[in-house]
Amino acid sequence: MGLGNELKDKLAKRAALEVKEHMIVNLGIGIPSLVPNHLPPGFPVVFQSENGIIGIGPAPGEGQEDENLCNAGGYPVSIMNGGCYTDSSIAFAMIRRGKVDLTILGSLQVSEKGDLANWIIPGKKVPGMGGATELASKAKRVIVLMTHLDKKGGSKIVRECTLPLTTRSCVSMIITDRAVFTIEDGRLILKELFNPYTLQDIEETTDAQYTVSPAIKYID
């Protein structure tokens, strides 16, 4: 996603504030997978992975990896006490049945209504939707972590997605390297600005229409 490690951690740290006690949380690959690093040790939350791990624990140290215990991104993890393994069918049963409280994903575009487009750039990049369609449709809450701008400097928060949609009207929060937005009742609201960005910076780099929260916060 073209962000330095410090910026990636900034996004992950902000997203970690949205993880509440006793939630069941599914994290996408990339920056979302950094979120657990920003939770207090022993924070009571269950990380579910669609490849069939319920209760992912910290990454093992070098030399301690088990090639058959990896997250959905293919990186070694551990399992917490009380965790279990399932097959892919059961992993998605939990997702479609609405047992996942929160999913944190990356995206290519998000519209001001919360439409998510993150599985294909026609003619260019066709990774496939993986588990995103079902996660975004069925998790109780969907948070997107992404750069504010695409590689060409275009706004990724748009009026209408030009890329094919993954799931319609599903995103409730967008955290970029510049700002935090929420989507409430189909309306996009600017809630927080990352230092040193200003209201004007966001206005100049955001295609979508939004309102500025009266309680706007400036954060580091």
Binding site: N68, L69, C70, Y75, P76, S89, A91, R96, G128, G130
Partner: protein, 232 residues
């Protein structure tokens, strides 16, 4: 002497199941839980024009991805090809047909094939112009649903931690993933196991896949690729 027959086989004896133009279903997720030694033999045997069905196309040097990278695959049914750039390139060049299914729907289509059902009915993708293309839409109780067909294959390849000689299986952590589903959905199910034990050695309570679904068992020689997370 067990009353259950011994399905232990050798790579030489399973070779004849793998033919050009075949439909092959495979277990594994990002290569984790894909049977490494069967994949290696498929490369050596030169099997080509294969239709593969499984979660994803792994990496160019890992798991089933190796077959894609060596141009042995004509069609993929999967949820994701992003970790295998060769798959993306062949797709855009028109040399590889790719059918995407959302990951859990794919798992459920395989499971449906494995449990003798014709298909599944879901609201996932019903209004998505890519996912609903050419598919039947059903109206049930006033809501719209997509009919997704079950998937079956001529041969299924499965990775297990332990098999007894009848083919009762237990898996290894996240290497389980699609393996128990694939084990049920193929005409011929071939298991590559890390360890093969005598019948009676596995606790009936811990067996995940019944040997009823398994036709042949071969002993794994282990992973011969380097994982993306391995630094040296």
């Amino acid at each position: 002497m067990s009353r259950l027959h011994n399905k232990r086989s050798s790579y030489e004896n399973i070779k004849h199941f793998f033919n050009d133009g075949m439909t092959l279903m495979f277990g594994g997720f990002g290569g984790v839980g894909s049977p490494p030694t069967i994949c290696k033999h498929l490369l050596d045997w030169g099997t080509k024009d294969i239709t593969i069905i499984g979660n994803d196309t792994g990496f160019p040097h890992i798991g089933i991805g190796q077959l894609v990278a060596q141009y042995r695959v004509k069609k993929v049914i999967a949820s994701h090809i992003g970790s295998n750039p060769v798959a993306g390139r062949l797709m855009s060049e028109g040399k590889l047909e790719v059918e995407f299914s959302p990951q859990g729907i794919l798992a459920e289509r395989i499971r449906a094939g494995g449990v003798g059902l014709k298909g599944i009915v879901t609201e996932i993708g019903v209004d998505d112009p890519y996912l609903n293309k050419g598919k039947e839409i059903l109206e049930i109780d006033g809501d719209r649903y997509l009919y997704e067909t079950a998937l079956v294959a001529e041969v299924g390849i499965v990775y297990a931690q332990k098999a007894d000689t009848y083919g009762n299986l237990i898996y290894d952590k996240s290497a389980r993933n699609t393996n128990p589903l694939v084990a049920m959905a193929a005409d011929i199910t071939i298991v590559e196991a890390e360890e093969i034990v005598d019948v009676g050695e596995l606790d009936p309570e811990e067996i995940v896949t019944s040997g009823v679904f398994v036709d042949h068992i071969v002993l794994s020689k282990g992973v011969d690729w380097k994982w993306a997370w391995e630094t040296n």
